[in-house]
């Protein structure tokens, strides 16, 4: 119970009420909410040809709707990529319209609270504002939460990790009932591509350690610890070059794709092919496959391909 320890350390004895509420919240940490993957008609949905919202509407409907993932009165945390102080056209961050649409679906499914959070690379208030995501989330009825405070990240143990044994993870990820991962597909100087698994670096605090200690292995290791309930890969605009930040709109190609799935490795493998690479060319995908986090073999999966 490291979390409890943390609370004891950080909050003085006087704050009995606060502590009590936190301990109550711990229940949700262990709540078993998960549907079985067998309940879903497909392992993966790939859709192309429409706007980000239209594609999501169709894709989620083909999986049976958001209510398959979010039940009434549950708390949801949505984790887009909001890493950079950059406009939507630059495709360094997740498409704001898509994030807004996902929040709306969660609320329609009866979610109590929908939080949106990211540990940004650039100064967070500017990232949230200029990405358009803050606005989109507020309009959709979600709550945008700062991810810049060390105190909100709590130590966890990664038992399946080869190199990465510990990390500090944002409390909303630990506490929320449902975790939806919404990366954007883009090139990356170090990891080759940034998709589902790479996006999870935005829920940890001490990520610079990953860079210093075999980045690809750390990304794969972390995928053994946490499995988002749903991954939505935004490949509407794709940053094909100079990622993950990009230099100008010249680096961006409008591809109009989206991939949905519960298996991060499979979603990453499919997205890699959309990008124009083989999954083997992105080392953390193979490493995660070997660790058993998911499968990169798309032939064995039931994939729904939709063209608008």
């Amino acid at each position: 119970m490291k979390r409890r320890e943390f609370i004891k350390k950080s909050v003085g004895a006087g704050v009995v009420a606060g502590t009590a509420i936190s301990v109550l919240n711990n229940e949700s940490l262990f709540a078993i909410n998960k549907y079985k993957s067998d309940d879903l008609p497909y392992d993966l949905v790939a859709i192309k040809g429409g706007g980000p919202e239209a594609m999501f509407d169709k894709a989620i409907a083909s999986l049976g709707g958001m209510s398959k993932f979010v039940r009434k009165n549950q708390t949801v945390v949505v984790k887009p990529n909001i890493g950079w102080d950059s406009t939507p056209e630059r495709a360094a961050n997740t498409n704001p319209n898509l994030v807004g649409r996902i929040v709306e679906h969660c609320i329609m499914a009866g979610a109590k609270d929908v939080y949106v959070v990211d540990h940004t690379c650039n100064e967070w208030t500017r990232c949230y504002r200029n990405s358009g995501i803050e606005d989109a989330v507020k309009k959709a009825g979600g709550k945008i939460v700062a991810g810049n405070s060390s105190g909100n990240y709590h130590p966890v143990e990664i038992k399946g990790g080869k190199v990465l044994k510990n990390a500090r993870v944002h409390e909303l990820i630990l506490e929320s009932d449902v975790f939806i991962n919404v990366p954007t597909l883009k090139s990356h100087g170090g990891a080759r591509l940034s998709i589902c698994m790479k996006n999870l670096m935005g829920i940890v605090w001490n990520r610079s350690w990953w860079h210093a200690n075999d980045l690809q292995q750390c990304i794969a290791d972390f995928s053994t610890y946490i499995k988002p309930d749903l991954n939505v890969v935004d490949a509407y605009r794709v940053l094909k070059r100079n990622g993950p930040r990009g230099v100008s709109v010249n680096d961006v190609v409008t591809m109009k794709y989206q991939v949905l799935g519960t298996d991060m490795v499979a979603a990453d493998a499919a997205s890699t092919k959309i990008f124009g690479l083989r999954p083997e060319e992105v080392r953390h995908i193979t490493l995660a496959h070997e660790l058993g986090s998911g499968t990169k073999n798309l032939d064995k999966l039931k994939i729904n391909r939709i063209t608008i």
């Binding site: 950080s10 909050v11 704050v15 606060g18 502590t19 509420i21 936190s22 790939a46 192309k48 102080d85 609270d113 939080y115 690379c121 650039n122 100064e123 208030t125 500017r126 709550k143 939460v145 700062a146 810049n148 405070s149 060390s150 105190g151 909100n152 409390e171 990356h188 100087g189 170090g190 990891a191 080759r192 610079s208 350690w209 860079h211 210093a212 200690n213 075999d214 980045l215 690809q216 094909k240 070059r241 100079n242 993950p244 930040r245 230099v247 100008s248 010249n250 680096d251 961006v252 190609v253 591809m255 493998a269 499919a270 092919k273 959309i274 124009g276 060319e281 080392r283 798309l298 391909r305």
Partner: protein, 520 residues
Amino acid sequence: MFQKYLKLFRIFVSLVFVVSISLLFIDFRGIIPASVSDIIIYLQFIPSIIKFINILGFAAIGFLIIIILNLLFGRVYCSTVCPLGVLQDVISFMAKRIRKKKKYKFARAHNVLRYVFLILPLIPLIFGSIFLINLLDPYSNFGRISSDLLRPSAIGINNLVSILLEKLNIYSVHQVDYQHFKLTTTLFPIAFTGFIIWISFYHGRLFCNTVCPVGTLLGLLSRISILKIRINPSTCTKCGKCIAVCKANCINIKKLDVDFSRCIACYNCIKPCPEDAIKYQLDMRKKTKTREETIDTDKREFVAKSVIYALGLFGLTKLAKSQPANNEKKLIPVEKENPVSPPGSGSLRHYNNNCTACHLCVTACPTKVLQPSFLEFGFTGMMQPFMDYKTNYCNFECTICGDVCPTGAILPLTVEEKKLTQIGRVHFIMKNCIVYTDRTACGSCSEHCPTQAVSMVPYIEDLTIPFINPPTCVGCGACEYACPVEPHKAIYVEGNSIHQPAEKPYFEKLEVEDQEEFPF
């Protein structure tokens, strides 16, 4: 008599100034826009003069307004506009509550010291250093107290509230990280705060009438003011009620004289006078020179204390020089020739000569890359903010520091200009790089580079390694900050002593590829 209400009016105006300036320096959330900040700081004397010299424009004639006011009414600046003056009033006010019997007495002017402190700062100025003005300017000192000491305290309170609310699952008040408190750079503000509390607690406005060069200069001008506080000799009964409330100790009741050069126009003396004998009067008195000064022990003691204080400070700064760090991997140490000055400062020379180290930019900087320096700019540049790539890096799209700088040490740039201004250049030490030493992927530097002056190129196997293109580097320091190698970085920015234009990065427009079918 409306003059009895002057004090109330003075208190009201002074509170407006001191509260707005304090908020400006404490504003850790960047709520107050630069346009408002310019208005709040407009009348500050020293920044206004320096800005006027820099831009020669209407935007910086605040000091002229002060001079005109001074020629009409005396040193109204010192009691209303000057935040350090008002701070001292607040301390004296509390002192009066704590020390019940406290009454002010007349004291002679420390004229030698006054003019020494007025002329001394000009000597380094001839050699192009603004050093002593930085140490003595009341506005900048107040800025440092607020930005370096009050702001961290406010952040602490904010974070406590935030933590408590988060326990209730309310995430609307976000925490602000303050991990960059350094004793070396806060030493002077702390010492100065102690000094100002002590001197105003026991001696009223002695600082303003002895140490402060602005006070002395405006005092000189007060000698020819049109309206002066004067005692009417025919009605004065020498009851001494006015002296008891005079923070400047400038009323000599024996001679029925007010030393108006030291009067800070606080108007405390007007209301207590039962005879209505002391008040603003047109100055038509014939000038009679009186030589009242003789060397006294008080003065000598004061000089001695000041010298010891200055020497002590110097000694401490020498003592606290950087310490050697451990070096496990046999990394090559990073040796920088120049520190990096903020975008808009043009050159180290311009920056060091014009920055009074008020730390308004330190408060305003959203990433906190601007940090008070210690010895980065040398001893005489102490406390002037520098681009500290250990703390953070400069946001590519941001120009706030130039927008708020009250002296023109950092001149405003448009976002487009800023993106093509090279404040420093990237250097790569391959032998320190993770990809070279550990043969594992990283890319942290290139990931953060806004212009791809650092890009990742193929290396052995499927690895990529940084490759630098310095002409397009703007010197933002993102690569240096993001580099995970400790204690010696593999990539760093060497400051440009004169800022250079950066080349605009160019990459051809990518073509839209048509994919008929899904690739899987």
